[in-house]
């Protein structure tokens, strides 16, 4: 009997001590005043810049990463402390509605002047009260010119071509997939017109023989290995893939497409609000943004940094489209739960109809 008591008591005691130890370990780190909690997408900042920020300001950065807007939202809603977050534009709209963001004081961020005016005051946050753009991009077609010999991908309709049987990869996102079908018909990708949406669904069903798969991150590896000829992807993802497989070409179809932003914002759970402003201002600095754009490889909204980029990068029309193309791009609006649900349902029905 004594053996049993010893066994149980010692295991509970040691376990309790460990638990207490970790609590202690974490408390000392979070009670420091000169700490900034940054919550960003994975691989989305040059780590050298974080060190530089700490050297310049003395603020220690605790850096954590997330892999989807939704995962980030859950943490913020549970009041987990973060001082700077990087939500995408439709999430900014949602967070604004739910009072999960704190206003940004423009006086504390003189580097706002570096941002290209085209990217300020957009519909998801007019007046940029709560968010400032970090990187931006589009949705387009990534294809391999060798295996699709001579095909022209300047329109969305080209994806429906019969020669692409079982060779097209789509993104597993309702807004992206339904959106490009709406675009191909000349409709807005924020459509809340049931007729247009049902028409889009019928058109999508015609695409099913060509669809190799509706996938997420796997698109990158599949395109790198030339497992599929064509993919509908985000421009940022396309850049990463093209870096490893130089044969591929990314193009924005002429009917127009989505314009997306990842933004910098201060969540309601922030404690070091001054530090958050300093960090955002730091990232908008010309040289910092230049170095970060080099490292991340996405399109920067920072005009001052853009001017300093290599000619080759600057002139890449598919990633920094000209004015004419820019006018056709559209930002996702938060459609509200009902229509979001309907979009999801359409994609789900399509997925189920695939073999």
């Amino acid at each position: 009997m004594r053996f049993l008591i010893t066994l149980i008591a010692s295991s509970l005691l040691v376990g309790g001590l460990f638990l207490f130890g970790t609590k202690l370990l974490n408390n000392t780190s979070s009670s420091e005043t000169d700490v900034l909690f940054v919550y960003n997408w994975g691989e989305y900042i040059d780590p050298e810049l974080i060190k530089q920020f700490t050297e310049e300001t003395g603020i220690r950065v605790v850096y954590e990463t997330f892999d989807s807007n939704e995962a980030m939202l859950v943490k913020i809603k549970q009041k987990q402390r973060y001082d700077v977050v990087f939500p995408s534009e439709y999430t900014v709209e949602k967070m604004k509605k739910d009072n999960l963001l704190l206003p940004i004081d423009p006086d504390k961020i003189p580097n706002i002047k570096n941002i290209d005016e085209r990217f300020l005051g957009l519909s998801f946050d007019p007046g940029n009260e709560y968010s400032l753009p970090y990187f931006w991009g589009t949705v387009g077609i990534l294809y391999n010119p060798e295996t699709t010999t001579g095909m022209d991908f300047s329109t969305w309709d080209s994806v429906w071509d019969e020669s692409l049987l079982n060779d097209v990869l789509l993104l597993d996102g309702a807004r992206e997939t339904i959106g490009f079908v709406l675009n191909s018909e000349g409709h807005s990708l924020n459509s809340t017109n049931k007729e247009e949406l049902d028409q889009a669904k019928q058109k999508l069903e015609k695409l099913s023989p060509n669809v190799r798969g509706i996938v997420g991150d796997e698109i990158a590896s599949m395109m790198k290995e030339n497992e599929a000829k064509v993919a509908v992807v985000w421009s940022g993802m396309a850049m990463d893939i093209m870096y490893e497989n130089e044969d591929l070409i990314y193009t924005i179809p002429q009917e127009g497409t989505n314009l997306w932003f990842d933004t910098m914002a201060i969540p309601s759970s922030a404690k070091n609000i001054d530090g958050a402003h300093q960090f955002i201002n730091f990232l908008l600095d010309k040289n910092v943004a230049l170095q970060n754009t080099d490292w991340v490889g996405y399109a920067t909204p920072n005009q001052a940094a853009f001017k300093e980029l290599d000619e080759e990068v600057k002139n890449a029309k598919e990633f920094y489209p000209d004015k004419e193309t820019m006018e056709k791009l559209e930002v996702y609006r938060d459609l509200g739960p009902e229509w979001t649900e309907y979009y999801n349902e359409l994609l789900l029905e399509f997925k189920m109809s695939l073999d």
Binding site: M1, F3, L4, L7, I8, S11, L12, V14, G15, G16, L17, F18, L19, G21, T22, L25, N26, S29, G42, E43, T65, D67, Q78, Q80
Partner: protein, 261 residues
Amino acid sequence: MNTLSRSFLTVIIIFLYFPILYLAYYSFNTGGSMTSFEGFTLDYYKSVIENKALMTVIMNTIAVALISSGFATIIGLFGAIFLYLIRQKYVKSTLLTLNNVLIVSPDVIIGASLLILFSIFGIKLGSTSVILAHIAFSVPIVVLMILPSLYQQNSNLVLAAHDLGASAFHVVTKVLIPNIKPGIFAGFLMALTYSLDDFAVTFFVTGNGFSTLSVEIYAMARRGITLEINAISTVIFVVVLTISFIYYFVSDKKIKRGKTT
């Protein structure tokens, strides 16, 4: 026939253990990837130890394993004794089947249902929810580990104790429990190993910055495998192997004693 079965066994063991050894081998690689071995280094073990966030997670994992298996052993022990003492055959077999269903039902289902339960009762996800979940899936294992040793002991001892005037409490504490010591210990160790390597159930009930090693490794691997993961996995493998060896010796002793009595 003998050589055939022996070579079959060898092949199976190679298949099962080769990937783990391969992974452990490359955790000492200076090359930084699993493609070619360039030289011996302990850098990855060092960086695991220096990584404060990771050390927190490791300590959490040990704490959860110890606390949950401690509680599970108590609950499981009384569950097993109760099952042993039940007279009606169909009640006994029903309860035993219900116990076994919990062991064979998929972790995903247990995890998801616990998550729903916790949110209904408003238990905040974190250390408490993880420990409760681990106790929940460990209890059936402990019951199953202790039950055989209850049947193996000489049942006349219990009757004799009653005859000699021992109270029910004394029968349990002075006769039953000392007799099934190896079984209890085996149950405790089994609960410990189950808790250490559980991913699916834990995945559902972690939150608020509290995480265990298997969940953390999964998150790390999504961003690409670094050799740090190899290093941690090697350490876990060695720990679990050690526990299973201890378990083996304990249960081995139990069987021998069972033969002599």
